[in-house]
């Protein structure tokens, strides 16, 4: 049976795309294979590890477990869209660097996107909020203390700036 491809319209990191895709394409495949955005990582593929996390509209989503067609008409932000166009790092990226919050970096794009979605929604997270909200993002080498401290620091800075 010849399966009809479907039209997908989506904005990724501010750029609009319109393309024909196979219905079974996952959002992660679309980003990595079709758009060349390899920041979101492919690991467990069963929504356990969070390495593939991207933001759809305002929510942190595990791209491995969502069909690309499910984000039709929506706006996706990946780690590639975090820094500003002139290359200035997002405060979360800069603070992760300052706090040595990663070693191999494999989990980092997913962590950054989960943290961004959380901070955009909750301006005053305490440590417990951060731990709970970041529970779906596993790290196999650095451990968890540094990046929790980093996110706390960004949250405090944000609060101070108001």
């Amino acid at each position: 049976m010849e399966i009809a491809k479907k039209i997908l319209k989506v904005k990724v990191n501010g750029r609009p795309y319109e393309m024909l895709i196979k219905p079974k394409t996952t959002l992660l495949q679309l980003l990595r294979n079709d758009l060349g955005l390899t920041g979101a990582k492919q690991a467990c593929m069963d929504n356990s590890c969070g390495a593939c996390t991207v933001i759809v509209d305002k929510m942190a989503v595990k791209a491995c477990s969502v069909l690309a067609l499910q984000v039709n008409g929506r706006e996706v932000t990946t780690v590639e869209g975090l820094a500003s166009r002139d290359g200035k790092l997002h405060p979360l990226q800069q603070t992760f660097l300052d706090f040595h919050a990663f070693q191999c970096g494999f989990c980092t794009p997913g962590k950054l996107m989960s943290a961004k979605a959380m901070l955009d929604e909750n301006l005053h997270p305490n440590e417990e909020d951060i731990r709970r909200d970041m529970e779906g993002n596993l790290c196999r080498c650095t451990g968890y203390k540094q990046y929790i401290d980093a996110i706390k620091a960004v949250a405090q800075k944000k609060e101070g700036a108001k």
């Binding site: 069963d46 929510m59 069909l67």
Partner: protein, 305 residues
């Protein structure tokens, strides 16, 4: 063994993606393709099932393409009406649902205590998908049952309502036909003087999370128990009401020993055939929930003065 590691949808056969514009069209597609087709709502369960090769499909019918299935309305006469595609996130944020059926929001929120692990699933999962998938239904259905909720189901021949307690078969799946779609959940207006409680235990390694929802109402003199509903999810695939145990307490005054006896009877009634440890866990949970329901029923009364 189905591959569970590094598994993507690459290895599975291609499927057609159909976007109906009306519920009727979705029903007609379902009746045409039967088990070769599945409807997708939030997809938080369905995509995992496809990946794990639990289901094999040739047609995926996207319910999200049907307009007007995402809403929350309230009228005194008919109560709350929630469109089947409304997400659990929207439900828990809704001031209407918080105001008219707080206990339901409590159940939705306890569904996923470790939020981010499940946060995206919470944003995307719909009330319809939740009720139409066995296991998950156990989580929120008990509260809907004590609230007297009804499911509105549409088929090729028209629509009908099914009381939530009759919505599930023995496998936990919905009882409706292959050519039908769940379109709405209705929760009738609640009386102010009821003690409503929802409690959930954590899952153990080899034992599922148990849930219990209790409704308790005292008579006009606030002496006897006029109405009692105890619904338990997680032991059997479909949520069950412990009708025999409820009868032990109805029309009787509140009594410490009677609460314990009722909890014991309810756990036995619903947990028939399950291991003694699960029954014991259920008994403890039910007992605690009934005690809290008593407190809440009396509390509402005390506030009335």
């Amino acid at each position: 063994m189905p591959p569970t590691y590094f598994s993507d949808l690459e290895g599975i056969i291609e499927f057609e993606y159909i976007e109906p514009k009306t519920t009727k069209e979705a029903c007609s597609l379902r009746s045409q393709y039967l088990e070769r087709a599945k409807v997708i709502a939030g997809g938080t369960k369905l995509i995992a099932s496809i990946k794990q090769r639990e289901i094999n499909l040739q047609y995926l019918i996207n319910l999200k393409s049907i307009p007007n299935l995402e809403y929350i309305n309230y009228e005194d006469e008919e109560g709350l009406k929630i469109g089947a595609l409304t997400t659990l996130f929207e439900i828990s944020q809704s001031s209407l649902v918080n105001d008219k059926a707080k206990i339901f929001v409590e159940a939705v929120q306890q569904r996923a205590p470790g939020i981010n692990r499940t946060r995206w699933a919470y944003y995307m999962a719909t009330i319809g998908g939740h009720l139409c998938h066995p296991v998950s239904s156990a989580d929120i259905a008990p509260t809907l049952i004590i609230l007297g909720a009804k499911a509105v189901v549409e088929g090729l021949k028209g629509w009908k309502t099914i009381p939530l307690e009759d919505f599930f078969d023995k496998t936990g799946g919905p009882t409706f036909q292959n050519d039908e779609v769940l379109t709405e959940v209705r929760i009738p207006k609640q009386s102010a003087e009821m003690g409503l409680v929802y409690m959930k235990s954590s899952s153990l390694l080899d034992s599922p999370a148990l849930n219990v929802a209790v409704l308790l109402q005292l008579d006009a003199k606030h002496v006897n128990i006029e109405e009692l509903k105890i619904v338990i999810g997680g032991i059997t695939p479909q949520p069950l009401e412990a009708r025999g145990a409820e009868a032990l307490m109805k029309e009787k005054p509140i009594d410490n020993d009677l609460i314990e006896e009722t909890a014991h009877a309810a756990a036995k009634e619903v947990g028939e055939g399950s291991d003694p440890e699960t029954q014991e866990r259920a008994k403890e949970l039910i007992e605690e929930a009934v005690r809290q329901a008593v407190d809440r029923a009396i509390g509402e009364f005390a506030l009335g003065y």
